[in-house]
């Protein structure tokens, strides 16, 4: 049964990727202004011969379907093409941009999701008390404040309070571990705070629901400690919606936290694809979106597997 599950998911992935590849391919080409127009700009000497020559060199003069089959044929053999602007292999460009995004995502999810469980549990238990109301108001604020605003304000504050501390840009961990982590702090806060707000509210309501169930009363009656009741009996049952949300959020973050990457000048996937769209860098846009789509689908697949671990009834169905 497990293998059938696996295969059906792989088939889904292939189907989704195929659909996405066609949509992205057409969309980026139907947007007005092609790569050649953008390259030559509105302020240079342009002759029709030069435009035609450049189009020919980039293969943009072929019919769409021919371009698509040329491209998809290469992709199936592992060749994603070369970036129109830099001439580097697309796979290499994506490889250079994937690490900051991966690190940012994992750290933000760890902080946001990790803290949301104790906070959510606390809110469920302390329901209605003054401090719980304060946390709840904080959570709503966290939900409504956009990440980019949080990012810019935190940069300003840091520059005011701790001048001389570098918080901008990105250094690979392998090159300078301390500098790397130092530069990750603010973006991770900017990304994880809204996530934390969202998830802790979710944990709270799921916990409230779980705590009112019969088996909790039974556990209390048999004399189990409050701690055991909350974290073993109630939490496990409250985790399913939580895991789903974390999965979806992780998927989005893996697609690059575009705005936060812009604000903190982090060279991640979000900036890569944004720049590629603005430049009409077709091969790069197509390949990056395929990678993002795959990441999204794979994360959701892992979430499905996790359901079975948390709730064995899922696997038996």
């Amino acid at each position: 049964m497990r293998t059938r599950f696996l295969f059906s998911r792989l088939a889904d992935l292939a189907f989704v990727l195929f659909g996405v590849s066609i949509i992205v391919f057409l969309m980026i080409r139907l947007v007005p202004g092609d790569a050649v127009a953008i390259m030559l700009g509105a302020n240079t000497d342009i002759t029709p011969e030069r435009v035609a020559e450049l189009r020919g060199r980039l293969g943009l003069d072929l019919p769409f379907y021919v371009q698509y089959f040329n491209w998809i044929g290469g992709v199936l053999q592992g060749d994603f093409g070369t970036s129109i602007w830099t001439g580097r292999p697309v796979a290499q460009e994506i490889g250079a941009h994937i690490w900051p995004t991966l690190q940012l995502t994992l750290l933000s999810v760890a902080v946001g999701a990790g803290l949301s469980i104790p906070i959510g549990c606390f809110m469920a238990q302390a329901r209605g008390r003054g401090i719980e109301v304060a946390v709840r108001v904080g959570a709503i604020a966290g939900l409504t404040i956009p990440s980019f605003w949080l990012g810019i304000v935190s940069i300003f504050l840091l520059a005011k309070l701790l001048p001389g501390v570098s918080a901008l840009g990105y250094v690979p961990f392998t090159q300078d571990p301390l500098g790397n982590l130092q530069r990750m702090i603010l973006p991770v806060i900017a990304l994880s705070l809204p996530m934390l707000a969202n998830l802790s509210r979710l944990v709270r309501s799921a916990m409230l629901d779980a705590l009112s169930q019969d088996y909790i009363r039974t556990a209390k009656a048999k004399g189990a400690s409050q701690r055991l009741i909350v974290y073993k009996h109630a939490l496990r049952n409250a985790l399913i919606p939580f895991i789903t949300s974390v999965g979806v959020m992780t998927g989005y973050l893996l697609g690059g936290a575009i705005v936060v990457e812009q604000v903190f000048a982090i060279p991640g996937l979000g900036r890569l694809v944004l720049g590629a769209i603005a430049e009409r860098n077709y091969p790069l846009v197509q390949a990056t979106i395929l990678v993002m789509t795959s990441a999204f689908v794979i994360v959701n697949f892992l979430v499905d597997l996790l359901y079975a671990v948390i709730d064995p009834r899922v696997a038996q169905k």
Binding site: A42, I46, L54, H97, I152, I155, Q262, G268, L272
Partner: protein
């Protein structure tokens, strides 16, 4: 003097020299360059990194925008104005170690001219019909007609090693020039680093160890970065950012009149702008000072066809009658010309903050006679419509040039390469042809005075304003001077504490 004190003195000088050298200048620009091949790039962010830093031309442009020797030590012009003989500097080497010779000059010009290269600079050297290598350090350019702007144009033609003549890919990634800084590293979406070229032909320069260009898209981030000391230099910042940085203690904002300008373009092939009277009336309805106050925070001057930075050429805008705002007279002119008012039009707007703001003020100022709908376009769409002359009006910004011919000829000559306005005026064509072949300054100036007077009011462009070019410099930087053409030419003299 004892040996000891000599030794101490030597030690001190070496230590001082060491201290001055061990420095990297951190520059923040808003986006990554598209490529680094000096003959293919057009974007400001490419040019600012490459020109003067990695590459040099036969001539150079100094801070007053005058032509000075570059890789050529001197030159002679034949009496008929057709032959230019350049004597190259001795002992110049490329970053790869090979010597720069007349062959490289010939190959570089041939590379720009070649159809296969597709260089946007081709038209600047189009009058050159032959490049003769006389000896290793002498090269002779032959023109088909006297072409006065050639010396200015040559400052923008980078000299590359001859081996790249037919290679249009390699230099985009790893440039090889003769400039004070050599290309070292390019981290996509992160930074480009140039390092000091040890064998640079000017002894003792550059002083910096390295220059790193960071790509920082968010203006607030660049602003904080220079305040906190992460960055030393923010070239070409917008007026709003400049205003905010002016109050910060450890940052100086340098400012100069920009060579580039903002403009409203008319489509002369569409009614009612085919009629010069309508274009003049439109000009009369504009109040350029109000536009500068409202959209540019007061940082700018009303623009005529040439930048006041071209002190030798530009006329004072007070000479243009249509720059006196007079709505009533303009309305009367339009009615007399038989234009049915109000005229409904669309105006394409280049996606930049200053052009968007200018478009709104202009929309207000001409309302009543012209009902303008603003189209805020994405850059790709804007460029496409611009190229295809698919507009009634547009608001945009143009880079300027240190010589009048370079701008006028391609923009206003009938069939000119960037004459997207479809403007065609026999008188202007005649004058522009004459200006191009006249080498005597006074006579040439008289021609371009005529051209300016005519274009200012009834040309296909309403020149709006020359803005100011701002560059924020951290106080730890010494020796930086802003150039009106936006180039970072002075980096060669910069030191950083």
């Amino acid at each position: 003097m004892t040996i000891k004190s000599i030794a101490a003195g030597l030690l001190a000088t070496t230590m001082l020299a060491g201290a001055a050298q061990a420095a990297t200048l951190q520059v923040a620009i808003d986006s990554a360059p598209a490529g680094l091949d000096p003959h293919l790039i057009t974007a400001f962010n490419s040019v600012v990194i490459v020109q003067g830093n990695i590459y040099e031309g036969l001539t150079a442009i100094d801070i007053d925008l005058a032509v000075v020797p570059g890789l050529a030590e001197s030159w002679e012009v034949s009496d008929d104005g057709l032959t230019y003989t350049f004597s190259l500097r001795e002992g110049v080497t490329f970053h790869d170690g090979s010597a720069m010779t007349a062959q490289d000059v010939a190959a570089s010009i041939a590379r720009v001219q070649a159809e296969a290269t597709g260089s946007p600079l081709a038209s600047r050297v189009s009058p050159i019909t032959a490049v003769n290598v006389v000896d290793d350090l002498t090269v002779e350019l032959v023109l088909n007609a006297p072409f006065a702007p050639i010396l200015t144009s040559l400052s923008g033609i980078a000299i590359v090693p001859a081996e790249f003549e037919s290679d249009v890919d390699a230099l985009q990634q790893t440039p090889v020039g003769t400039g004070p800084f050599a290309f070292a590293d390019w981290q996509p979406n992160s930074y480009i680093e140039l390092t000091r070229f040890e064998d640079y032909h000017q002894q003792g320069k550059p002083q910096l160890d390295a220059v790193r260009f960071h790509f920082v898209p968010e203006s607030a981030t660049r602003q904080v970065g220079i305040t906190s000391g992460d960055y030393h230099l923010l070239p070409a910042i917008d007026p709003a950012t400049a205003l905010q940085l002016q109050g910060i203690p450890n940052v100086t904002v340098q400012e100069t009149r920009d060579l580039s300008y903002t403009l409203v373009g008319f489509n002369a092939a569409r009614e009612p702008f085919g009629d010069p009277v309508v274009r003049t009336a439109f000009n009369m309805m504009l109040d350029r000072n109000e536009i500068i106050e409202g959209a540019l925070f007061g940082a700018g001057v009303p623009a005529g066809p040439l930048s006041p930075a071209l002190v030798n050429w530009a006329l004072d805008t007070g000479e243009y009658a249509c720059y006196e705002t007079d709505r009533d007279a303009a309305m009367a002119m339009l009615e007399e010309a038989g234009v049915e008012l109000p005229v409904r039009l669309t105006m394409n707007v280049l996606p930049r903050q200053d052009t968007r703001d200018i478009a709104q003020v202009v929309q207000q100022q001409v309302s009543g006679a012209f009902e303008i709908e603003l189209l805020n376009q994405e850059i790709g769409q804007f460029v496409q419509d611009w190229q295809n002359s698919n507009f009634d009006l547009f608001v945009s910004a143009n880079g300027g040039s240190p010589d009048p011919d370079e701008y006028f000829y391609r923009t206003f000559r009938g069939g000119g390469s960037t004459n997207v306005f479809r403007y065609d005026d026999a008188e202007i064509d005649e004058w522009l042809d004459a200006g191009r072949s006249e080498t005597e300054f006074e006579a040439r100036k008289a021609i371009y005075d005529q051209v300016q007077r005519k274009l200012a009011c009834e040309g296909p462009i309403a020149h709006i304003a020359y803005g100011n070019l701002f560059t924020a410099v951290a106080n730890s930087v010494e020796g930086f001077e802003i150039y009106a053409n936006g180039r970072l030419t002075s980096l060669v003299d910069v030191t950083v504490q």
